[in-house]
């Protein structure tokens, strides 16, 4: 009989070791890099707890294997290694390790059906042989991506063009390397689309940002095609005519979504700006949905509730309100004060982390609040919907957006519309 071998020499697989391997296991094993998978030793898993003496009878008298128990060696493993035994019984586990190879395992298998034989596997540290490390199972994401279900969605907005009309974009931001990006400035005298403020980069991050490595994910539609329309000049001012130009450009470029994180305050009893309504209707007729911020002019703690801003107050444009992480309406968020000037939907708009205008090689991020931050959440979700239903009309996409929204029954429709936007 061969002497005890509790060393860890790697040995080739033999027939017996394939006994319990499943088809899936075999396929996975075949895909592994070429290195030893088994030590050559076997575990005998006992089907039931043995009565006193029955284990000795089985191993020693029936199979001729010298058996010892781990409780016989209260000291160190080296004691076991020097002991003159063939099998080691791990009492608490109900498992016996057979020191010899297939031959001994076969002996035992012939002697009894009270054990299940399993080959002892070799474990390797992932990445040690140069293969890629496994992806982390839990990718940290902003509360907004989690609350909207965007973090869990398999959709990415792939192939969908999303226009964000704002302060431009920091195209050099490291997180956006390799992204499909089309930019145009509508600010007279400022041909560059580089973002000098940060607002545009933040909104584009929320709508279209992609996850990078261990960093917190902050974007909804990470594979969408980004159309940057710069409509705010360096001083942070824009004009209605520039906005109309940029909307027309986005529609002409087959954008499916236009995100407007902007608004002009509207007074109670004031009417809508009809030209925005017409622009919105024209966009819808070309399968493009415009979303706009409901406005930040409220101060609800002071009982000041402002009407929805223009252009969000138009029926053909989706007005987005802001909620916080406790699903309360944001203090500043506008409401449906004027008849027919409604809130359509709500989205995360308090404490929103996203990209910001950066120094070269030093990507920046910022956490800010506003209906400006809620709006691109909806824009990103619309991109996911367009990816999922490329043949829908704009009206059908909007209907689905409303249908999927999570009702917030403790809040008013005049504050949150259909509820909290949810990703498909």
């Amino acid at each position: 009989m061969q002497g005890p071998d509790f060393s860890h020499r790697a040995l080739p697989v033999d027939e017996l070791s394939l006994l319990n391997e499943s088809e899936q296991g075999a396929a996975k094993r075949a895909a592994l890099p070429d290195r030893p998978q088994y030590t050559g030793r076997y575990f005998a898993v006992l089907r039931q707890k043995p009565s006193a003496g029955s284990l000795n009878r089985l191993f020693e008298h029936q199979a001729g294997l010298r058996l010892a128990s781990t409780s016989d060696f209260p000291g160190s493993v080296t004691e076991v290694e020097r002991a003159d035994i063939d099998a080691l019984y791990y009492e608490r586990l109900g498992v016996v390790l057979l020191a010899g190879q297939a031959g001994q395992a076969r002996l035992l298998a012939e002697a009894t059906n009270q054990v299940i034989l399993q080959p002892e596997r070799i474990f390797y540290v992932p990445g040690a042989a140069g293969e890629p490390l496994p992806e982390p199972l839990v990718i940290p994401a902003t509360w907004g991506l989690t609350a909207t279900g965007a973090a869990a969605s398999a959709l990415t907005g792939k192939g969908v063009r999303v226009a964000v009309l704002d302060t431009g974009f920091d195209a050099g931001h490291a997180d956006f390397a390799g992204r499909h990006l089309v930019s145009k400035s509508f600010v007279p005298g400022e041909p560059t689309t580089q973002d000098y403020h940060g607002h545009g980069t933040h909104c584009i991050g929320t709508a279209c940002g992609r996850h990078h490595g261990p960093r917190t994910r902050y974007g909804v539609a990470g594979e969408s095609e980004i159309y940057v329309g710069k409509i705010f000049g360096r001083g942070g001012a824009s004009a209605g005519g520039w906005l109309l130009d940029a909307i027309d450009w986005a529609v002409a470029n087959q954008c499916r979504v236009i995100s407007l994180s902007l608004g002009a305050p509207v007074l109670p009893h004031q009417g809508i700006d009809r030209y925005y309504e017409l622009a919105g209707q024209d966009a819808l007729a070309h399968n493009c949905i415009i979303v706009a911020a409901a406005g930040n002019d409220s101060s609800r703690r002071d009982d000041v509730i402002a009407p929805v801003s223009s252009p969000a107050n138009c029926a053909s444009i989706l007005a987005v309100a802001a909620v916080d992480a406790q699903y309360g309406v944001a203090d500043f968020s506008g409401a449906a004060i004027n008849p027919h000037q409604l809130i359509d939907i709500a989205a995360p708009g308090v404490g929103v982390y996203s990209s910001w205008v950066s120094a070269p090689d030093q990507p920046a991020y910022r956490t800010i609040s506003g209906t400006s931050m809620a709006t691109p959440h909806v824009a990103g979700v619309l991109a996911l919907l367009w990816e999922k239903f490329p043949n829908f009309t704009a009206a059908e996409i909007v209907a689905e957006l409303r249908r999927l929204a999570r009702p917030l029954p403790h809040l008013l429709t005049s504050d949150v519309g259909a509820g909290l936007v949810q990703a498909p």
Binding site: H199, F232, G236, A239, L278, D282, N296
Partner: protein
């Protein structure tokens, strides 16, 4: 001081949008853009807003609105 305006045409202007644009030009509008959905942007001489508002097939003449963002360091954007 010339005034930037956004003009909204009525639903079916006589002779179409192009004809209306011509009439507006004759009246003194410097046209910037004509949008197919019935909106014209441009510039008119100061103090003449009411004249343009009164024209046939003009639904609305509005001084071009502006938007202003909060400064970058603001917490609410």
């Amino acid at each position: 001081m010339p005034c930037n305006v956004i003009i909204t045409a009525s639903e079916s202007p006589e002779g179409g949008l192009a004809a209306l644009t011509e009439r507006l030009k004759q009246e003194g509008l410097q046209v910037n853009r004509v949008f197919r959905y019935g909106v014209i942007t441009g510039t008119i001489p100061a103090g003449r807003l009411a004249d343009f508002q009164a024209m046939k097939d003009v639904a609305q003449v509005q001084q071009e609105p502006t938007f202003q963002l909060a400064p970058p360091e603001s917490f609410i954007q």
